[in-house]
């Protein structure tokens, strides 16, 4: 059964039949975390790096921003019995349009925000597929913790992260 995560949403699950999906990541970032021992996983699709932009919005919907969304993603998984030291972390998205890196770089800022939060909290990214101009759809299979990224294109290339 597919559980869909929209823009600025997050879903966690321990249901073995669930595949958690987020469609069409542009500059947004999808973060999948998974504890293989208890088979608990979560997927967050955030849009912007920092809730300082609009703190009220950040309280209203923490999943809009990296700094408010990522901690919540971990906490919701802990509630289902996951432990931080067992978490496998995979990241996709953060694409950019062509041109100089100094403008239109929300994708890169989104990625930088995530790295900063992970560094501060001693979280390692296991695998990632970020940047470039590709549109990506991301899947997390709760039964196995496998993560796939589908590159939107004619071939619909699917890679396992």
């Amino acid at each position: 059964m597919q559980i869909v995560v929209g823009v600025a949403e997050m879903k966690v699950s321990n249901q073995q039949e669930h595949v958690v999906i987020t469609h069409a990541l542009g500059s947004c970032i999808g973060v999948a975390i998974y504890d293989p021992l208890v088979k608990v996983g979560g997927l967050l699709h955030y849009m912007l790096p920092d809730s300082a932009l609009d703190e009220e919005k950040g309280r209203e919907n923490p999943f809009m921003f990296a700094d408010t969304g990522i901690p919540r993603l971990f906490k919701e998984c802990y509630k289902l019995g996951a432990l931080k030291q067992r978490m496998l972390v995979k990241v996709a998205g953060g694409s950019q349009v062509l041109g100089g890196p100094e403008h239109f770089n929300i994708g890169r800022r989104n990625y930088a925000a995530l790295r900063k939060i992970f560094l501060k909290n001693n979280v390692l990214i296991g695998k990632e597929d970020v940047g470039g101009t590709k549109a990506r759809t991301m899947y997390l299979e709760i039964a196995t913790g496998k993560v796939w990224v589908k590159i939107i294109g004619q071939n619909q290339t699917i890679i396992e992260l």
Partner: protein, 294 residues
Amino acid sequence: MSLVPQVLRSLKNLPPFPMVAQRTLLLLNKPEVSIQELVEVVKFDPAITANILRISNSAYFGLRREIHSLHQALLLLGTQELLKIIIASGATRVFAAPTPGYFTERQGLWRHSVSCGLMVDVLCRELSLPDQATGFTAGLMHDIGKVVLSLFVEQKFHEIMEVVEKQGVSFQAAEKIILGVDHAEMGGEMARMWDFPDRLRLAITYHHLDKPEAYTDDLILLVYLADILCLMFGQDLGTDGLAYTGYPEVLRHFHLREKNLQRVLLQFGSAWDEAQVLFGLMGQKDGIQRANRG
């Protein structure tokens, strides 16, 4: 080998632009539009009146009172909003065919087009520019060339993508290299055949800012920027992904900093949720189904 003759031949079979939308486009330039003029236009298509009421009463406008008539809709929403609704519901037929060269989802082009129209509105608000139906319409129509070019892009997709990847050019530039014509030019040609107002035609033709003429009208720059922001937002992205060029001079022209762009995306997120009724204009069952997607 250029496909231009083949592409141009395919334009000979271009169906007419839906009449109600066509007539409404002519009202865009008028400073005042009377209720009588609007009634004259929509009376040819009873489904449009039903759509107007449905959209007027949706979360998109969030009115407290229920609207029962065209007249009431005009009073409460104003001419510009009503023009947007009429054009969007009148134009759906043009977007009805799938465009597999660009979108793997059947309604991908429609959804991207509506999104771009909404994004122009959000940008106008951020820039304190008047939120006019012309901007929404130009956003809605900017990729109309993809309707016809899809067939050819589908055939040559891998060659086009190879040019994008090897030469680092935009998807549009690669279309031009491989097919001899790109979707913006194609859209401009269609707009000419359909007698679109000049401003609208030029916004379609130049929306990727690949010619100096693009800089003659802020409307073109707004549509360009809205398109780029839609790609960044994600959702309903096509096979061309984000392979288009970001021009910093456009940001400077509008005095937009990155924070402004972030705020526009934030606002667009809410507008997009509330506008599901517009996406749903294309095949209502499917629209509702897809509205639950995100």
